[in-house]
Amino acid sequence: MGEGIEDSELAALRAGDEAAFRSLIRRYHGPMFRLAMTYVGDRGVAEDVVQESWLTCVRGLDRFEGRSSLKTWIFGIVINTARSRRRKESRILPFASFWRRDDSDQRRPTVDRSRFGSDGMWQSGPLSWDSIPESKVLGDETVQHVRAAIEALPPKQREVIVLRDVAGFEAGEVSSLLGISAANERVRLHRARAAVRQALEEYLR
């Protein structure tokens, strides 16, 4: 996205332009909601987090200094809001323990070893999806499987794949938003994408 577009969008928001605000909240709702779900795991709570984040953004618009892009600033607020909400919820729910036991920064084989021969070549390789109708490959039911696969990921992989592939951030932006190294960002992303591919292979066989 060009910086010029963001600058004029920011100016419109500061001037109270409702159409600009509506377009912003529609554009980012999906990625923000998915990101919030990463931390709180409940649709109702995630919607609350999205709402609270927007209110924080609106109140902070005048103080936003443009050191990051507007989008990065907004998603940083979602992450902070969702994390503090998770801390509150975790006194009630056992959700937080998933984060402590998350080994997502370790490199692990992403494909079951039994699929390769002793020479490391495929024994039962993936079959091309070219013969499956595109309407099925890209259909709603397939998307449901993707959503389920992402929700089943360890949280550290989930936040990276949501920021990269749902919200569309660049690698460097994700590392700085999450405060992780580029190497960890890549390991998490790789494991997450491989898991989504695996889930799709099982569904589309």
């Binding site: 529609r26 709702h29 209110l55 084989p109 390769f116 390789g125 091309s128 890209l138 993707v146 799709l200």
Partner: protein
């Protein structure tokens, strides 16, 4: 490079961060391997499908509340 190594380089390849040498060996392997070619195409499809999760519509009630909040805040 064998298939077991190639699959672990898929993300680095898609991200464009393999060294020139690794990239050449990766592409040489892929050219002759149906399984790894299918795997790479599937990684790309998985990514495209993941992106469609962004399309979740904003509930009308939430949109109204947020627009109200925006309007009120700007007026202060």
């Amino acid at each position: 490079m064998n298939c077991r190594q190639v699959v672990e380089l898929m993300t680095d390849y898609i991200e464009g961060i393999l060294s020139t040498d690794e990239r050449a060996r990766f592409e040489a392997h892929i050219a002759g391997c149906d399984g790894c070619r299918a795997y790479l195409a599937q990684m790309r499809t998985a990514r495209k499908l993941t992106h469609t999760l962004a399309d979740e519509p904003l509930p009308a009630s939430l949109e109204r509340e947020l627009l109200d909040a925006f309007r009120n805040w700007r007026r202060l």
